[in-house]
Subunit: 449 residues, 2 copies
């Protein structure tokens, strides 16, 4: 294939895979990666586990990319400040020297990720890094760990994966933790209240306080945070972690004239933006739901990975598509594995589905086998056709494995019967003869009659 200049902006999982795939697609591709970090990549999903101490050193999360060996150019500690599509030039600012350099391109892949959203709560912005922290990179994760060494209490705002994982990490390090969530339950966008209840019970048992459906009104302190006001009640606190979601980092794309969706940069299935030759992937883009093919956000590492393959292939002259996402995820919150895929009941109803639900609790192994753990699996289907549109689970083990089956069933357009009849492997040391996934489907099928 003939040489082509590809500029990749942002070195996360998406940018990395895009670069690798582009080179595999066209070994004559000339690839330049512009990234704001001083180091190469880091595994963001590992941060809470490093904070907790399960991973002994933050440095283990850093991975360097052998760009020279891969025949690529890397501009670390550089910020892409503009994309001039008329002249096909990205301008990169060398943060160290504060000088700019032009980088010519045939294609650009925007992989600028997301940034933590700090809500407009009085005190939140003022006290940022003075006891109020966000968490999205190694620096602020380390900062939190350092700060937490001399304190005794923390509030986490937001009961999503990051908030809860960090909450558990702090609690493990003997800090009194309160998690505050504006919506009525944990993981409000991914799971249903009944599954959240099981998680909340487990969190309470491990000493974490929860305030669900609670609004933060004010964060107070001079030099540093001293209290937080929630539902008109002021609570003294030493640290506040803002984990109330992330926003697509889309400024660069916006300035370049790329069309934006409600929550992220809009692309087609080739991951190309409204401007031909400019691709976008990962946390900064809006994708579509695989269920109803309407706009959907999927700010997951796995999504960035797949989108990276697609954009990398296309930018290098190949052809690949990314069809959308189910936001299949798993999170480990203390002892509990929580996973979900597709629509939860709220999203299903909002999208116009009348749903039939099957929920089953069961053991991961026969009750007579040592180490059997209870798990609860829930499957959601379209009540008129039985087509599966969502799944959730919680338990001490084996939850992701079962939610993955539901995810594959949704992908394959399967209905409840198809998944119910799935032939699953049984051995007492590993599984039960009649799996909770099958049981959940059986219960849902019965409701359809």
């Amino acid at each position: 294939m003939k040489p082509t200049e590809i500029v990749i902006i942002g070195l996360g999982v998406g940018g990395f895979i895009a670069a690798k795939t582009a080179k595999k697609t066209n070994r004559n591709a000339r690839i330049t990666i512009i990234d704001e970090k001083k180091y190469d990549m880091f595994s963001a999903c590992g941060l809470p586990f490093a904070m907790e101490g399960i991973i002994s050193d933050f440095d283990e999360l850093i991975h360097s990319m052998p760009t020279e060996k891969m025949d690529m150019v890397k501009l670390p500690y550089h910020k892409a400040i503009s994309i001039d599509n008329e002249n096909k030039i990205v301008t990169a600012l060398d943060i160290d020297s504060n000088t700019t350099k032009p980088v010519p391109y045939d294609s650009v892949i925007i992989a600028t990720g997301s940034k933590p959203f700090v809500p407009p709560i009085p005190g939140a912005h003022e006290l940022l890094n003075k006891g109020v922290f966000v968490i999205n990179d190694l620096e602020n994760a380390k900062q939190i760990v350092d700060y937490s060494k001399s304190i005794s209490s923390a509030v986490v705002v937001g009961a999503g994966a990051i908030g809860l994982e960090v909450g558990v990490a702090l609690a493990q390090n003997n800090i009194e933790v309160t998690v505050i969530e504006m919506l009525p339950h944990a993981f409000p966008k991914a799971i249903d209240p009944d599954i959240a209840k099981i998680l909340e019970r487990s969190l309470k048992e491990s000493g974490i306080k929860l305030m669900m459906g609670a609004a933060v009104e004010k964060i107070t302190g001079d030099e540093k945070v001293t209290s937080i006001t929630v539902n008109s009640k002021t609570i003294p606190v030493d640290m506040v972690i803002m984990a109330s979601g992330v926003h697509a980092n889309w400024d660069l794309a916006k300035d370049a004239g790329c069309e934006l969706g409600n929550w992220g940069i809009r692309t087609n299935a080739k991951m190309e933006t409204s401007i031909p030759g400019i691709y976008a992937i990962g946390d900064c883009v809006e994708t579509v739901s695989l269920i109803n093919h309407k706009p959907w956000m999927s700010q997951l590492s796995t999504t960035a990975y797949r989108q990276g393959i697609t954009a990398g292939t296309n930018a290098a002259g190949g052809y690949d598509t990314f069809s959308g996402s189910l936001t299949t995820f798993v999170s480990v919150i203390g002892k509990m594995e929580v996973a979900a895929t597709g629509f939860n009941k709220f999203f299903a109803n909002t999208a116009g589905y009348k749903v039939v639900i099957g929920k089953a609790s069961g053991l991961t192994k026969p009750e007579w086998y040592p180490g059997a753990k209870e798990i609860t699996i829930k499957v959601l289907a379209d009540a008129s056709t039985g087509r599966i549109i969502g799944g959730q689970g919680i338990g001490e083990e084996g939850v992701a494995a079962r939610v993955n089956l539901i995810s594959l069933a949704i992908k394959g357009g399967m209905n409840l019967h198809d998944l119910y009849e799935a032939e699953l492997a049984y051995c007492p040391a590993v599984s039960e003869a009649y799996d909770p996934v099958s049981k959940a489907c059986e219960f849902a099928i019965r409701k359809m009659k």
Copy 2:
């Protein structure tokens, strides 16, 4: 629904579920269960783990069935000796009193299971229970454990699940174990030689000797076994476990005039034999392969369970079908979890498929997360269409979970791309961002180009 008399012959998992389902389908069904055992049910798949000591007591494997509460009649320690279909009567022999009683029926469900096959090796039959043992019930499992207390060496004939699980159990109890298999590798009917190699290496590391592709010629001893002759070499040994497969227990069905297949009682998708009103389920029947819909054996607990639901429903006046099996299984052999579904390469080729294979090794978690284990996953597809027809895996954890995905993909008629694109949940504490299943599919897809 109107009353109907159902006789179930054999109280294993199939018979139990058939009874339960029949009662659920028609609460006016009058159900009689005839079973040869003195106790109710036991979990056969748990025997090797009880022998090993993981399950502390054999009695934990015994489960009693509340037949009275379930409004059923149970005839334990009774043997069904004939089915007179003209007069609709099963004759049951009371083993204790050696008297017979007629049991009238509208439908019969034959769930007589299988019996261990003892090959015609000189000495094998003569020395049975004198150091030569089969293993298929609590009694002989206990006998083996008792016998093994005073010995130092054992040979297991047959490297399938039972043979290997029992071999590991004996080795754990400090007995020098040699496993002999006539075919060239372990699990010859389920996995391919390369996957078997990984298992064999692990077995050797744990001190178990293996003789693959080896023929047992003779078993010698007077009062009890003293040696075994394999490939013209005589090895002194204290015990021989015959685990070279099981045969369908079909005599009763044969005598009643039911049509037989090559390996088991033939049934239709309703699990009804060639004689209307007589059903058969579990280890004693021949099913069809879900891949090519040709006769296939699936002597698995999970298959018996599903067939029991079908036969129980139909016998009670409902309607249900069982469409066939992929023989999805998992076995835990020492540290290793081995699982497979669908055709292995040998069966695929025999069935006329030209296969494309993708094999990938990877970690169950990121390498920087503590406790990551290596697993190897293999996917087999029809080379002309990419339709998935088989899968195998081996590793210390998470193997069944991945083989279950392949099983579901086969069931859903998916091709390599469909499974490759499956959206699997990622969290470093649970999984890798790019799963070995996806990688195996990617490798197979590349070979198709």
